[in-house]
Symmetry: C2
């Protein structure tokens, strides 16, 4: 491994001068800088981040906490985060937490042991071991958190309910996401707000998780436990798809007999048959903006925008019945 000493020796200057030249800090004469640059190039030298991080007590790493990497919503967020932090010279330490709070705390510890510069988390809740690490929450936020990026879940819930009503809902089932996840609760409120306003009857089917593995059996459970509904507001696209698949198995026609709306607009939702109508959240932007916010928190003292809300939109496709314009 080539070190700063090798560079200093080859350039005929001290390590202090090399360090200053590399970091553009303090005074370095033009001639010294040139000698250093030449030596750096010749030796193909890149400074060791570990040594730097030890001295600075702060590395160029950012911890990324995700609830479930197999749910396409989170890789999309991760990509946004990655693109932004890369531009700013950081890299990501990955923590896939799977709703396991022990695992989450373990990761926070590991982050701390690695002098992480900050953490960005899409996991619900306030970590205990956070200490003083700069922290930004994405999507699954809560009231006490200072720095958050999320989308307008209340509006999303309203849009979904309105769309279902436009499709002439007689009786709707709301598949409500896990109760401990703020986004689910807020969306549910949005759903109810509109449904109540139009006095459309609904039942709530509470789900315990957003996880893929449970989607199929949950869809079955909905049909087994509930009846005579003609509309479903699914907790996310995965559950929406599972529900449609199950409906087809039971010979129920979508959207004629049963209309379904999802949430998230996963990349695959438009490739379904029929393509899934859903509420789109800007996952990539949530990640990108979140990383931007974190970088600002880490690098500046004051940040103006602390809680950022991004818009949601209704993506009309083919799992909802047509609105009768002339009625």
């Amino acid at each position: 491994m080539t070190t700063i000493r090798d560079v200093a020796k080859l350039a005929g200057v001290s390590v202090a001068t090399v360090s200053r030249a590399l970091n553009n800090s303090g005074y370095v004469s033009i001639s010294a800088r040139e000698k250093v640059e030449k030596a750096v190039k010749e030796l193909n030298f890149y400074p060791n981040e570990v040594a730097r991080s030890l001295f600075q007590k702060k590395s160029k790493l950012i911890g990324l906490l995700l609830p479930d990497i197999t749910n396409p919503f989170f890789p999309a967020i991760a990509k946004g985060v990655e693109d932004c932090v890369n531009e700013r010279g950081y890299s990501l330490l990955l923590g896939n937490v799977e709703g396991d709070s022990e695992k989450q705390e373990k990761y926070l510890r590991i982050f701390e042991q690695n002098n992480i510069a900050g953490v960005i988390s899409a996991v619900q809740g306030n970590p205990i071991n956070l200490k003083n690490m700069p922290f930004v929450s994405l999507d699954r936020i809560n009231e006490e958190q200072k720095y958050v990026v999320h989308s307008d879940d209340f509006l999303g819930g309203q849009l979904a309910a309105q769309a279902i009503i436009d499709g002439k809902a007689k009786k709707v089932v709301i598949m409500a996401g896990p109760e401990n996840i703020s986004a689910s609760k807020v969306r549910l409120k949005g759903n109810k707000d509109i449904l109540d306003r139009y006095a459309v009857p609904y039942e709530i089917f509470q789900t315990e998780s957003f996880h893929l593995d449970l989607a199929e059996e949950t869809a079955k459970a909905v049909f087994n436990q509930l009846s005579e509904f003609d509309s479903v507001i699914a907790s996310n696209d995965i559950y929406g798809l599972a529900l449609i698949t199950e409906a087809h198995k039971r010979g129920i026609k979508v959207p004629e007999e049963l209309q379904v709306i999802g949430y998230d607009d996963m990349p695959f939702s438009k490739m379904m048959t029929p393509p899934l109508t859903t509420i789109s959240q800007p996952a990539y932007e949530i990640g990108y903006k979140g990383a931007e916010l974190l970088c600002n928190v880490m690098e500046r003292d004051s940040v103006t925008e602390k809680r950022i809300q991004l818009p949601v939109t209704l993506i009309k496709r083919e799992t909802l019945r047509e609105k009768d314009e002339h009625e």
Copy 2:
């Protein structure tokens, strides 16, 4: 931050003794060990990994290189990798490379600057900046690589072709994955092997990427450029889905008029309408086994199994026509 010196002071021993006690290296008396353990607990001390890593010239981090985190195949691999490395006390530095070889080299450099213990890559090709880092390739491997984990792509290609033939293929289109990716080439060979044996006519449609964003237009292109085919072997499930969606738009019935088989068995493929018949690769296991292999390479001197091949299986669902048993 509490350091090893604080522990030493509280325990009334030297830092050397604390270090030995923590690492179970060298001699430590029972009484000293107890004092250290007590102090560690009292101070809630966890050693700084950066300092450790600086001295050892090797961190507890593993670099993970992925071609495209938004393709569900790779998060599944990543999860397998993560589960295994966690058990062994490592964490993951994430590098989403997006087919950009400059980005890949940049990550390798970052890995090196962080004293990474090893790298595990699902990206095609041999990195230039690899130096002496232990390296394991997953899925997109090549002949020269010493440590690889992949699935049996030739058999996968054969199974797909055989399944298509069983569905009474008259004219088949093979959507061949990118030519620079070994797995695509081998699968194509497997396809041809069977198709030639049964003298079933086929055309090859070459795709440039496995990427989601291109799936729709690629599907359109297949229909625009080729005609009179009744069977498609898609390069992966994403392309299979896009193709089916496009077929539906054109009023073509699947599987009656057009049968389609995918590759990978993504989590969503079973939730389609109709559910997608495909070749299943054990993505999670590829990741897990790959991480296991890497850990063994890093920790032992000799590893017996260097190139691990995992099985593939045909997952029969509903996008292929029925085999006529009585004919």
